[in-house]
């Protein structure tokens, strides 16, 4: 891409890309705040969960352990499985980091790896700079934490039709990230359709429902991405470009 020779990705650019993520997170974490409150978790507890975890599937799963007073080892295991995707994303991102991403930066920045931040950062062709990463993370983190707090404190006051409508915002954002590349690239379209079909099977087929929603997502995604990689391997030139990006 021409832009790879251009300017370094800046903090400002990160803020600009992160704003829709933060706005998208707000209604989703608002819903999490309402859910936490309805399970008997005080607002301060919901706030702590969101500010220390910054993840949707893992937090919802954790909530059910808290209300059931389940074993801490089982909680740890379930979190490990649900969050395994972050380890894969970490490997993928590690290929793209600029030399300025030193170990202290990596240790701090990794706390903000989410599905959305990963997807937006991955869609950038340039090497990833720490400044850009923090710019991307700030609005996302603020949106997630403030949404949780607002939901836990005020969720009861809003009409259900409004809180419900806010819940679809983040999926609208996902679709906006999926459709443009799917229009241009058959391999991406195949991968998206394959993942969606598998995910529907996993959700609606009783035989497969033993996967929790978080681990089901990663299983479907890994199968779909592997199938796409087998059927549509990147060209030699493309592959080297990918490898030489960082």
């Amino acid at each position: 891409m021409a832009s790879s020779q251009g300017k370094r990705l800046s903090f400002r650019q990160g803020l600009r890309d992160g704003l829709p993520i933060g706005l998208g997170y707000f209604p989703v974490s608002f819903g999490f705040g309402i859910l936490a409150l309805s399970r008997g978790v005080p607002a301060l507890g919901a706030f702590l969960i969101s500010s220390l975890n910054l993840t949707s599937a893992g937090q919802v799963a954790g909530l059910s352990f808290i209300t059931a007073a389940g074993a801490l080892t089982a909680l740890a295991l379930s979190q490990l499985i649900i969050n395994l995707r972050y380890s894969l994303m970490g490997i993928s991102l590690s290929q793209r980091l600029s030399p300025r991403f030193t170990l202290p930066h990596r240790l701090l920045a990794s706390a903000f790896i989410t599905d959305e931040i990963f997807a937006v950062a991955s869609s950038r062709r340039e090497p990833l700079e720490p400044a850009y990463w923090y710019g991307l993370s700030c609005p996302s983190y603020l949106g997630w934490v403030s949404g949780t707090l607002a939901g836990a404190l005020a969720g009861d006051l809003l009409p259900a039709s409004l809180t419900g409508a806010l819940g679809i915002a983040i999926y609208g954002m996902f679709l906006a990230m999926l459709l443009p590349p799917a229009r241009e690239n058959r391999a991406v379209l195949f991968c998206i359709l394959c993942a969606a079909a598998l995910s529907c099977l996993f959700t609606y087929l009783p035989a497969l429902s033993f996967f929790s929603s978080g681990s089901g997502v990663i299983v479907c995604a890994v199968i779909a991405a592997a199938a796409a990689a087998l059927l549509f391997p990147l060209g030699k030139a493309e592959g080297e470009q990918e490898a030489d990006r960082a």
Partner: protein, 104 residues
């Protein structure tokens, strides 16, 4: 309401495991991947993750299938037209909210 002191160990275990699952590979994986399959796999993975997160969860995201379908249709149309992320996200919410007056 649950006592914060009772739930704090749960919150800390969640936070610790979640942080480690993010930090270890991101911080310490330094090799350059050369395998064509792995590079292809890693380039398709973000799309697969987003798609599996979206479907079928989007259909139950508003608490009513009808309003969720209205929001999904609006999002699909605007996303196809390459509108910015935030425009598509808010349009999905607006369509779901407005359709709730007709569908309830």
């Amino acid at each position: 309401m649950l006592d914060l002191r009772v739930i704090l160990p749960y919150i800390l275990v969640m936070a610790g495991v979640t942080y480690l699952s993010r930090a270890l590979s991101f911080s310490f994986f330094r090799k350059k991947i050369r395998s064509r399959f792995l590079l292809s796999f890693l380039s398709y993975l973000p799309y697969a993750v987003l798609s599996a997160l979206t479907f079928p969860a989007v259909f139950s995201s508003t608490g009513s299938t009808g309003t969720a379908l209205a929001g999904t249709a609006a999002a699909l149309l605007l996303a196809y037209l390459r509108m910015p992320l935030i425009v598509v996200a808010l349009a999905a919410s607006a369509a779901a909210f407005l359709s709730s007056f007709f569908l309830s």
